[in-house]
Symmetry: C2
Subunit: 186 residues, 2 copies
């Protein structure tokens, strides 16, 4: 793999783990075994440019993964269940939700940097669109699909935050079940 991709991969992991401000350039350089010159060659505008590249790469990964799951299962109910189960399994084995959430970056940077905020908004929007399309395919009206897709995005993101603070998987389990129940009645 080329250097630029390696920097993005490594930095993405570190940013998700410790937040944007929590990771220094030196830490990224050490993890990559490269020097400052190399990093600034690939990202002339420095750390924020790197962050945006990371968020874009992360977006692609998350959306691809979700599209894969939502393509494999016949209904929103089953796809959501599978997706949340994957989150839970990952959290149990890896003790982290790295690769699935970027809430630390959102909440850290949304008020500080507009370019970063916009990329994050896009990521949430892409996720929400996947839910929306599947719900419409399930036969829901566009109005209902819109509301429920938003609800799914918010509650799953909030559920991940609860899991992280509690160091437990129960919040996501309960939310998955509650979403399933709501979906049946919606």
């Amino acid at each position: 793999m080329d250097t630029k991709s390696m920097i993005i991969d490594t930095a993405t992991m570190l940013f998700q783990l410790k937040g944007y401000l929590g990771v220094g350039l030196n830490e990224i350089l050490k993890a990559c075994n490269i020097s400052k010159g190399a990093l600034y060659h690939h990202f002339p505008n420095g750390k924020e440019e790197l962050l945006i590249a990371c968020l874009e790469a992360l977006n692609e990964t998350i959306i691809k993964d979700m599209e894969d799951i939502f393509g494999r299962y016949p209904s929103t109910l089953e796809a959501t269940d599978a997706m949340v189960n994957q989150l839970i399994t990952h959290f149990e084995t890896e003790k982290t939700l790295i690769g699935y959430t970027f809430s630390s970056i959102v909440s850290e940077m949304a008020a500080l940097s507009d370019p970063v905020r916009i990329v994050c908004a896009q990521l949430y929007q892409d996720m929400q669109d996947i839910y929306f399309n599947k719900l419409v395919a399930d036969g829901f009206s566009e109005d209902k699909a819109y509301s429920f897709a938003l609800m799914m995005t918010a509650s799953i993101e909030g559920g991940m935050m609860l899991c992280l603070t509690q160091k437990a998987t129960e919040p996501l389990r309960v939310i998955s079940q509650a979403l399933a129940n709501s979906l049946k009645e919606f």
Copy 2:
């Protein structure tokens, strides 16, 4: 007001606005018009001790406010609606959700500091308990009340993050409505 309380109030606001790592001691000092000596006199263990004091104060404020609202309205449905409307109004007039969320601190620090993580978990738990008790008073079984209270906590927190990234109030509006619908069917 005494110096210590003033430091806590000012720091709480800054931490919520820019995150824990995003605010330096110097910035807090300047906003308070005090010196380093004064701060370290009141918080000998430094910045993290100050953060925990801030989270505890914030906890008290949020819970008191929520208990007030949930005491004034007859049902969970009406109380939640009033609470979310208050959030929305605040966001529209102040352009911030300061005073209501601490997600930036949670997601930044949950993986880094166990004491901070535990205080945050307690805050979520206290909020969830308020929902739970009101739902039980509404006549829901403890099982259902538990699930729904968790769902409320997660979706409202997630909804605030969506509002912050989009600079819009619609996510919380939609979530409030969706929660009301789910509640009727639950």
